[in-house]
Amino acid sequence: MSRDALLSATHLARHYQVKGGPFSKPATVKALVDASFELYPGQTLAVVGESGCGKSTLARVLTMIEPPTSGELVISGHHVSLKEGQRPPAELRREVQIIFQNPYGSLNPRKTVATMLEEPLKLNRRDMSAGERREAARAMIEKVGLRPEHIDRYPHMFSGGQRQRIAIARALMLNPKILVLDEPVSALDLSIQAQVLNLLGDLQDEFGLAYVFISHDLSVVRRIADDVIVMYFGQPVETGPAETVFTTPRHPYTQALFSATPVADPNRRRERMKLKGEPPSPLAPPPGCPFAPRCRLATSECTEGDPPLNEVADGVRVACIHVDQAMAAHEASA
């Protein structure tokens, strides 16, 4: 573990107990399996994958909304040890804040912008007077590109992009070091999306924030990420520097995901790497590698055990036993 990592996660896992009917025994759903990574100031780590891949669970664990079932989470040098339902200590909670996908659900419809922005200060900064709090809220609302007079309005008076700016302002009120961005621009229109991405870039430069950027939109991720984790069915299948992963995807799933993403260039009609079928049900996980049922390279070996996440190139780790064949196939098609 590096000494100046803001956040380091080692073998994080999160399981849920799912009650079946009254006569069936409860099942365990492994929403997140064995995630390890480190996060440094000013760095953006992107978590990529489709719905049900465990990205949102990871967000909830990192923000300490839920404790990990196993594994170790260290934030700013503090070991996080939480029990189910327990609230994290204030000094840790301040360090990590979250921005949600849906700007319409993340703002309390009954509160004015000022009340929402001042709430974190009211709860954590007892030393500030009401006037100072209001001043701080005003300064922050301008920082995210809204006007001071917007501060006494209710959320329903704002458009989606403006709401997302308000959510960002609220998250920054306590000067966190880490922002978990859970699909922050997916619900926004293209022209607004660019505005919010630029804002996030500016804020990162100004405050040295570290971002955990959760997204399914690869074109956005490619633009802003330093490092990438590709997840499938709760497991990281490929991790590494964004540039390397995007230019040479090594895991068959990463390759298929990249190839399925539409590119806004009509002259580039490529042969798609077709992915058959759908992700497995979390209640009936397939044996061995979870991607095996959809994988074109799968052999009987794949179903025998979880493939380990091995380092295959400079900083790139891939969980696939047929990574060499996948690489060869990718080079042949490129």
Binding site: F100, G105, N108, R110, L123, R153
Partner: protein
């Protein structure tokens, strides 16, 4: 998509009041309802000066006198008299005091208790929820009047016991509504955001969640208000509520039931005033909901 152009200084109490009034008065029905209720309240307050007679005075020479527009009617008893010769108008005017205050108390008790229990159940879930909802199911399983009667019998007959009994009968509706809305709102992202900001259980329950659950509760309160008027009347009729000769609308209605065929006025006027009051309260409730809920605000 809103560009508001309200010039008043936002954030102040006066501004909030002004915007509330703007939304509330936008609904014609709500305004009419409020004016009517305000009139009834003024009448109730000024009852001793407005009523032509003592509501308990029995005029043995004028039993079941019809209202003034009948041939046998007289200006002395404008709305007629009841079976023991009491002036119906005076009793209605004094009755407003009892009916409104009793119902208001009932709704207040029942809403406060219901919101508290509902918040607990919806917020904590688990065994807290199981206990609360099961007890409420038991309350609901009794015929409401029977339960109220039983409670009054235990607590000794009288106005206070009647109010408590009816409040208990109304409680499950508030608990269920609150619990359902809390469960719906609890996992919304703004609640999680508030939690990450460091809000404790109490703050989350009362400051973050409750205001977002109020709209259906206000509507339920207006419905309960009308039920309370009727339930109090029923208890009075059975001798377990308001004791005679207290002039309470429901009791008046109940007492005059046997003369429905021969002296319609003795039932019609109390019935009419109950109907109108309940209707107007409901109209006002709708207006309140529209004005209190920022989501319904036109921007």
């Amino acid at each position: 998509m809103a560009a508001i152009s309200t010039p008043a200084a936002p954030g102040t109490f006066r501004y909030q009041l002004a915007s509330f009034w703007k939304d509330f008065s936008a609904s014609r029905g709500a305004l009419v309802g409020m004016i009517f209720i305000a009139c009834v309240m003024i009448v109730a307050l000024l009852a001793p000066w407005m009523a032509p007679h003592d509501p308990a005075m029995q005029d043995r020479s004028a039993l079941l006198v019809p209202p003034v527009w009948h041939a046998e009617g007289s200006w002395r008893y404008i709305l007629g008299t009841d079976a023991v010769g009491r002036d119906i108008l005076s009793r209605l005017i004094f009755g407003a005091r009892y009916s409104l205050s009793i119902s208001a108390m009932v709704v207040l008790i029942s809403m406060a208790g219901g919101i508290f229990l509902g918040l607990l159940a919806g917020y904590f879930r688990g065994w807290v929820e199981t206990v609360i909802t099961r007890v409420m199911d038991v309350v609901l399983a009794f015929p409401s009047l029977l339960l109220a009667l039983g409670l009054v019998a235990i607590l000794s007959p009288g106005l206070t016991s009647a109010m408590i009994a009816i409040a208990v009968v109304q409680l499950p509706y508030f608990v269920r509504l609150t619990r359902a809305s809390v469960i719906g709102e609890k996992n919304r992202e703004y609640v999680i955001a508030s939690r990450l900001a460091g809000a404790g259980h109490l703050r989350l329950m009362f400051n973050t969640l409750l205001p977002n659950c109020m709209a259906p509760l206000i509507v339920q309160a207006t419905l309960s208000f009308s039920t309370a008027i009727l339930d109090i009347a029923a208890l009075g009729f059975l001798g377990m509520g308001v004791q005679p000769p207290t002039p309470e609308w429901g009791a008046m209605l109940a007492n005059a039931r046997e003369f429905m065929g021969s002296a319609y006025w003795a039932v019609t006027f109390p019935g009419l005033i109950i109907l109108l009051t309940v209707l107007m309260i409901n109209l006002m409730g709708d207006g309140l909901r529209d004005a209190l809920d920022p989501k319904m605000k036109r921007s």
